[in-house]
C-alpha cells in the first residue's frame, strides 16, 4: 500500500510539474491543482498510513492516527482553494485585458505551430 500511495503522489506531482511548464494560464492552474493534491497528500502521509483509526477519541480505543498532519492539511486544503481561485481570476483578468492567456512572455509568437486556431475575443467580436 505504501508503494501505491508514494507512486500516486509522484505521478500527480509529475503531471502537475509538466502542466505548470505550459505556456497558457489554464494548464498552469490545473498543474498547480495537481501539485497541490500531491503536496497535501504528502503532508498528510507524513503521519504514516493507518487504517480505521481516525483521531476521534472514543472509550476503550487506544490506537489513533496522528491528528496533527490532518489539522495542518485541512487548513492547507482551504487555503490552496483560496490561492487557486486568486490565480484563476488573475489569469481571467489578464486574458480579458490582453486578449491572450499566454504566460511565456512572448505574445508575438502566438502563431507559432498553430494546430487549432482559436480566435481571440477581439476577433470574435469583429466577426459578428
Amino acid at each position: 500500500m505504501e508503494f501505491l500511495v508514494a507512486s500516486a503522489i509522484g505521478v500527480m506531482a509529475a503531471a502537475g510539474i509538466y502542466l505548470m511548464l505550459r505556456a497558457r494560464t489554464y494548464p498552469v492552474v490545473l498543474g498547480l491543482a495537481l501539485l497541490t493534491y500531491a503536496t497535501n497528500t504528502f503532508l498528510f502521509v507524513s503521519g504514516r498510513l493507518t487504517v480505521n483509526a481516525p483521531p476521534v477519541i472514543r472509550d476503550g480505543i487506544t490506537t489513533y492516527t496522528d491528528p496533527l498532519p490532518q489539522a495542518l492539511v485541512l487548513t492547507a486544503i482551504v487555503i490552496s482553494f483560496g490561492m487557486t481561485a486568486v490565480i484563476v481570476v488573475l489569469g481571467l483578468r489578464s486574458y480579458l485585458e490582453s486578449d491572450t492567456d499566454q504566460v511565456d512572455g512572448k505574445p508575438e509568437d502566438i502563431e507559432n505551430e498553430n494546430l487549432e486556431s482559436v480566435p481571440t475575443a477581439a476577433e470574435r467580436k469583429a466577426d459578428q
Binding site: A14, A15, F42, V45, Y64, L68, V89, D104, G105
Partner: protein, 948 residues
C-alpha cells in the same frame, strides 16, 4: 536630562513643522526652531559635566543578542559635534525661513531638516557602532531628500541620486568594516572598542577593517576619489548646502575618524592612506575651486579642500595634529556656513551665482559685503581671524612631516594648497564685491532682511572672537574635544596669534603672497587651467553606474524575462538539483516499518488516479475534459483521506473539490476552451523529462518517509484534546484550540484572497475590459433551457436540507468529523446552487447578503473570542469550556472554541461566496441577458409570463 531624548527630539519634532505649515510659515519655522532649541538646551545641561572631562553613558537594550543596543554617551567630541549640529541648525532654520520662496513646501523642508538633524545627533552621541551605522544611513537618506528638495530641477534629482549612491555605497563598506572591528574588539560598544588599541592594530583584520571603514568616511566627507558628489549636491537649496554640505554631514566622516582615532590611528597604514588622501584632496580641490564660476561650486570645492586638510591632520596621527584638526573643524564650520549663507544672499538678491556676471556688490550690499570679506579672509587664513590660527597649526605640523623619506614633500604641497586657498578666497571677495559695478542684474540687489544676514553675522562674530582671543573663547572647548579624540594626555600647546618666527609663519606669508599673485595674474592662470586636461569623475561615475545597471539588467532579465515558463523551469531545475545533491549525501537503506497490504479496491483506485493524472497532462488543451478529469483526481484523493483514517480531510477535500470545479467552470466560460499547441516537440519532451525527474523525486521521498517510523507530537494532542480542549475530534480541537492562532491567520488569508478576487473582477467591469465584456459573444452554444425546471425545483427543496446539514456538521464538529471549515463550504455550495439554477441576476436580487461583511464579521468573531481570553487574564485565544444542564434537553457542552469556529464558518462562507458570486457576476455581464422575473424558463404558474 536624558541623552537619548536629545537624539529623539528632532525625530519626534519632525512631524511638527509638517503639521504647523497649515497654520502658517512663521508657525512652521517656529515649531522647527523650538524643537531644535529644546534639544540644544538639553545638550547644554551636559556642558558642566563635559567640561569637567567626564563621560556620561545611558543605554537601553534593543537587540542584545546582535550586540545592537540603544547606547548613547557624551564626551568632549560628541558634545562638540552635537553643539555644532544643533547650534548651526538653529541659525539655518532662521535663515531658511527667509530664504525659501512662497511656493516651496516649507513644512516638508523643515521636517526633512529635523530628520537629518536627529540622525546626525544620533551619529555623534552613539556609543554603539551598529546604532551609529543606522544613523549614518539615515543621514544619507535624509540628505537625499534634502538635495532633491526642488523636485522640478533635474540637476537636483541627479545630484541627490549621485549623493545617495556614493554615500550609500560608502555606508555599505562601512557596515562591513564596523562588523570586522566589532569582531576584533569583541564588542560593538565604542567605549569598549576604544580600550583595545593593541588587539585591533595587531589583528590581521586590521587593514581590511580600516580600509572598509575609511571607505565610509571618505565617501561621506567627500575625499578623493569620492569627492565629486559634493559639488553636484549643491543643487540643493542654499540652507541645505550650508548645513549639510559644509557644517555637519560632510564632517561625519571626520567625526568618525576622530572617534576611532585612538584605536585606528598611529600605524603606517593609517598615515599613508589617510594623510595622503587628505593632502591630495586638499590640494586638488583648492586648485579646482579657483576656477569655479558658480559661487556655490567654488565653496563646494573649497569645502572639499578643507575637509582634506582636516583629514590630513587626523592622518598625521600625532596628538598635536589632532588638536589642530579639532580646532579647524570648529573654525571651518563657522566661516564656511557664513559664506554659504552669503552665497545664498547673493543668489537671492541678484538672481545669479555666476561670478563672471557679478561684481561691485559691496556698495550695493554693504552689510553682506562686510560679512563676506571677514569670512572669506578667515578662509584664506589671514591673521586676527580664526582660520589663520588653525591653518598655522596645520602648516606647523606639515613642516615636520616626512613622507616616504621625503622631508620637503608634505610642507611644499601643504603650502601650495594654502596658496590656492588664499587665491580662491580672495577671488570670492574681489570678483564679487569689488571691481566694476554691474547694472545688468536680473534683480536689483540690496541688503536682505535681518533674518537672512543675522545668522551669518553671528557666525562672523564667532570668527573674529576666536581669531582675537583663541585661548579664552575656544581654548577650553578645544582642550576637552581634543582630549576626547586623543583619549589620553594632550601635548603642551597654546592657542595664540603669535608664536614667534616659526616656519609655519613663513609658509603662511608665502601662501598669501602666492595667492595674491595668482589672482593678479588670474587670466593667465586660467588659461593654463583651460589647457590642462580635466578628468571628470562624474563621467567615470556615470559610466560605472551604467555598466552596473546593464550588468544587473542582463542578469535579471536572463533569469526572469517575463516568462512564467522560464521562471518555473529554473525553480524546478534548482529544486531537483538541490534534492539530488541531498540524495547522494544520505544513506539509502530501505525503511523497516511494517507495511499495509494493498487491497484490490485500492489498486483499482490507484490505477484510476494514475490514468486521470496523466490524462489531465495529455488532454489539457481540451480544457473542459481536463477539468472533469481533475475532478476525478480530487475525488480519489478524498477517498484516500477517508480510507486512511482522516474523515475530516475527506469531507473538506470533497467540498473544496465541488467549489473549485464550479469556480473553474465559471472562469472557463470566459476563457478560450481549446488552445493551440505552442511548444515544440523538443520542448515538450524536455518538460516531460523534468516532470518525471521531479515526480520521481517526490515519490521516492514519500516512499522513504512512510516506510520509516518517526517521532511525532500526536501523543500530546490525543491526551489533552478531551481534558484540555473539551472535544473528542482531535483534528478540530487542534484547529480551533491548540493551534487556533494559525487558523485565525488562515481565515484572514482566505478573506484577503476573496477580496482580491472581488477587486480584480469588479475592476474588470469598468473601462476597456468592461466594454469588451459587454460586447462579448459567447463562443459556445447556449442551452435553450438555461434554467431547467428540475434543477430549480431540486435546489429549492434542497436548500433548507443543505443548510440543516451544514448546521449539523458545524455543531458536531468539536466531537465528530466536521467543523467550521467543512460546514462553511457545505453551506456555500447550497447557496451557490441557487445561482446556478436560476441565474446570477435572479438569485442575487433575492439573496441580499453582503459577503464582504460576512468575512469581516467572521474574522472579528474569531478575534473576539481570543480577546475575551485576555479579559480573563489569559493569553490570546485561550479556550474555556463547561458542561451545562438544560431541562428537557439534558447535558450540553459549550466551549469558547465554538465561538471561534463560528468565526471560521462565517469567513469560509463569505470568502467562497464572494469569489464565486464575483465570477458569476461578470459572466452574467458578458451574457447580456436581462434578469428573468421567473426562477425558471418554463412558466409553471397559472399567471402568464410577462412579455419581454
Amino acid at each position: 536630562m536624558s541623552l537619548d531624548l536629545i537624539v529623539l527630539l528632532p525625530f519626534l519634532g519632525a512631524i511638527l513643522p509638517a503639521l504647523m505649515i497649515r497654520v502658517g510659515r512663521n508657525a512652521c519655522a517656529t515649531s522647527a526652531f523650538t524643537v531644535t532649541l529644546l534639544a540644544f538646551a538639553l545638550l547644554m545641561t551636559h556642558a558642566p559635566l563635559v567640561f569637567r572631562g567626564e563621560t556620561l553613558r545611558v543605554g537601553v537594550e534593543w537587540l542584545p543578542r546582535l550586540g545592537l543596543n540603544l547606547n548613547f554617551f557624551i564626551d568632549g567630541l560628541g558634545f562638540f559635534f552635537a553643539a555644532l549640529i544643533l547650534g548651526i541648525g538653529l541659525l539655518i532654520i532662521i535663515y531658511a525661513r527667509f530664504y525659501l520662496a512662497k511656493e516651496d513646501p516649507m513644512g516638508t523642508f523643515y521636517a526633512y531638516l529635523l530628520l537629518f538633524q536627529g540622525a546626525m545627533v544620533g551619529i555623534v552621541l552613539s556609543d554603539n557602532i551598529l546604532l551609529l551605522l543606522i544613523f549614518w544611513e539615515l543621514t544619507s537618506l535624509s540628505s537625499f531628500l534634502l538635495i532633491g528638495y526642488w523636485k522640478h530641477l533635474r540637476e537636483g534629482r541627479l545630484g541627490a541620486r549621485m549623493a545617495l549612491t556614493v554615500t550609500g555605497a560608502g555606508g555599505l563598506s562601512m557596515i562591513a568594516g564596523m562588523l570586522l572591528l566589532g569582531d576584533i574588539a569583541g564588542s560593538y560598544d565604542i567605549s569598549e572598542i576604544l580600550k583595545h588599541k593593541e588587539a585591533i592594530q595587531a589583528s590581521p583584520l586590521y587593514l581590511p577593517a580600516l580600509i572598509l571603514i575609511l571607505g565610509g568616511c571618505f565617501t561621506k566627507s567627500a575625499q578623493f576619489p569620492f569627492h565629486f558628489w559634493l559639488p553636484h549636491a549643491m543643487a540643493a537649496p542654499t540652507p541645505v548646502s550650508a548645513y549639510l554640505h559644509s557644517a555637519t554631514m560632510v564632517k561625519a566622516g571626520l567625526f568618525l575618524m576622530a572617534r576611532l582615532w585612538p584605536v585606528l590611528a598611529g600605524t603606517e597604514e593609517w598615515f599613508y592612506i589617510v594623510a595622503s588622501t587628505g593632502l591630495f584632496t586638499m590640494l586638488m580641490a583648492a586648485w579646482i575651486a579657483l576656477f569655479k564660476d558658480d559661487l556655490k561650486g567654488l565653496l563646494a570645492y573649497s569645502t572639499v579642500s578643507h575637509l582634506g586638510l582636516v583629514t590630513l591632520l587626523l592622518g598625521l596621527g600625532s596628538p598635536m595634529a589632532a588638536v589642530a584638526a579639532v580646532f579647524h573643524i570648529l573654525n571651518h564650520a563657522t566661516f564656511k556656513a557664513a559664506l554659504f549663507m552669503n552665497a545664498g544672499i547673493i543668489d537671492h538678491e541678484t538672481g545669479t551665482r555666476d561670478i563672471k556676471r557679478l561684481g561691485g556688490l559691496f556698495m550695493l550690499m554693504p552689510i553682506a559685503g562686510t560679512l563676506a570679506v571677514l569670512a572669506a579672509a578667515s578662509m584664506a587664513g589671514l591673521p586676527l581671524l580664526n582660520g589663520f590660527l588653525s591653518k598655522e597649526m596645520m602648516l606647523e605640523e606639515a613642516s615636520h612631516t616626512v613622507w616616504a623619506g621625503q622631508a620637503w614633500l608634505v610642507p611644499a604641497l601643504a603650502t601650495l594648497g594654502a596658496v590656492c586657498s588664499v587665491a580662491y578666497s580672495f577671488r570670492y571677495i574681489v570678483h564679487v564685491y569689488f571691481g566694476e559695478k554691474r547694472h545688468e542684474y536680473p534683480r536689483h540687489p540690496h541688503d536682505p532682511p535681518f533674518g537672512m544676514w543675522g545668522p551669518s553675522a553671528l557666525l562672523v562674530i564667532g570668527v573674529i572672537a576666536i581669531g582675537l582671543f583663541p585661548a579664552v573663547v575656544a581654548g577650553p572647548l578645544v582642550a576637552v574635544v581634543a582630549g576626547a579624540v586623543v583619549g589620553g594626555p594632550l601635548p603642551d600647546y597654546h592657542l595664540a596669534i603669535w608664536h614667534g618666527l616659526t616656519p609655519a609663519l613663513g609658509m603662511s606669508a608665502l601662501a598669501v603672497a602666492g595667492g595674491l599673485f595668482l589672482l593678479w595674474r588670474y587670466t593667465a592662470v586660467r588659461a593654463i587651467w583651460q589647457a590642462a586636461p580635466h578628468p571628470d569623475a562624474k563621467t567615470a561615475f556615470q559610466w560605472l553606474l551604467a555598466r552596473a545597471v546593464r550588468l544587473a539588467k542582463g542578469f535579471t532579465h536572463g533569469l526572469h524575462n517575463g516568462s512564467l515558463q522560464r521562471h518555473i523551469l529554473f525553480l524546478m531545475i534548482a529544486a531537483i538539483a538541490i534534492t539530488t545533491a541531498g540524495f547522494f549525501g544520505a544513506s539509502h537503506a530501505p525503511g523497516t516499518r511494517p507495511q499495509l497490504e494493498a487491497t484490490p479496491v485500492a489498486i483499482a483506485a490507484w490505477l484510476l488516479l494514475v490514468v486521470a493524472s496523466l490524462g489531465v497532462a495529455v488532454l489539457h488543451r481540451r480544457r473542459l475534459y481536463a477539468l472533469i478529469i481533475v475532478g476525478v483526481v480530487g475525488i480519489i484523493v478524498s477517498l484516500g483521506f477517508l480510507y486512511f483514517s482522516a474523515p475530516d480531510l475527506a469531507l473538506t477535500q470533497i467540498s473544496v473539490e465541488v467549489v473549485t470545479v464550479i469556480l473553474m467552470l465559471l472562469a472557463l466560460n470566459l476563457l478560450p476552451k481549446k488552445m493551440p499547441r505552442e511548444s515544440s516537440a523538443i520542448r515538450r519532451w524536455r518538460d516531460v523529462a523534468i516532470a518525471c525527474l521531479g515526480g520521481l523525486g517526490i515519490g521516492a521521498l514519500t516512499w522513504a518517509m512512510i516506510t520509516r517510523d518517526g517521532s511525532t507530537l500526536a501523543g500530546y494532542y490525543l491526551e489533552n484534546s478531551l481534558p484540555g480542549g473539551g472535544g473528542t475530534n482531535v483534528v478540530n480541537v487542534i484547529l480551533v484550540d491548540f493551534r487556533g492562532f494559525d487558523t485565525f491567520g488562515e481565515i484572514i488569508v482566505l478573506g484577503i484572497a476573496a477580496t482580491i478576487i472581488f477587486a480584480l473582477l469588479d475592476g474588470a467591469l469598468q473601462g476597456e475590459v468592461g466594454r469588451k465584456l459587454a460586447a462579448w459573444v459567447p463562443d459556445q452554444k447556449r442551452a435553450k433551457d438555461r434554467h431547467p425546471m428540475m434543477l430549480v425545483i431540486a435546489t429549492r427543496v434542497m436548500l433548507p436540507l443543505a443548510l440543516m446539514v451544514g448546521a449539523y456538521i458545524f455543531l458536531r464538529g468539536h466531537n465528530l468529523p466536521g467543523g467550521g471549515f467543512i460546514a462553511g463550504l457545505v453551506v456555500a455550495i447550497a447557496l451557490i446552487m441557487q445561482y446556478m439554477a436560476s441565474g446570477f441576476g435572479w438569485a442575487a436580487q433575492r439573496m441580499r447578503v453582503d459577503y464582504h461583511a460576512l468575512i469581516g464579521v467572521g474574522v472579528l468573531t474569531a478575534g473576539a473570542t481570543g480577546v475575551v481570553a485576555w479579559l480573563a487574564d489569559r493569553p490570546f485565544l485561550t479556550s474555556a469550556f463547561g458542561h451545562f444542564h438544560l431541562p428537557l434537553i439534558g447535558d450540553i457542552e459549550l466551549a469558547s472554541a465554538m465561538a471561534f469556529d463560528i468565526g471560521v464558518f462565517l469567513t469560509v462562507i463569505g470568502a467562497t461566496m464572494l469569489a464565486l458570486a464575483s465570477l458569476s457576476r461578470i459572466g452574467r455581464w458578458a451574457d447580456n441577458q436581462s434578469v428573468p422575473d421567473q426562477p425558471m424558463d418554463h412558466n409553471i404558474s397559472r399567471r402568464p409570463a410577462k412579455e419581454h
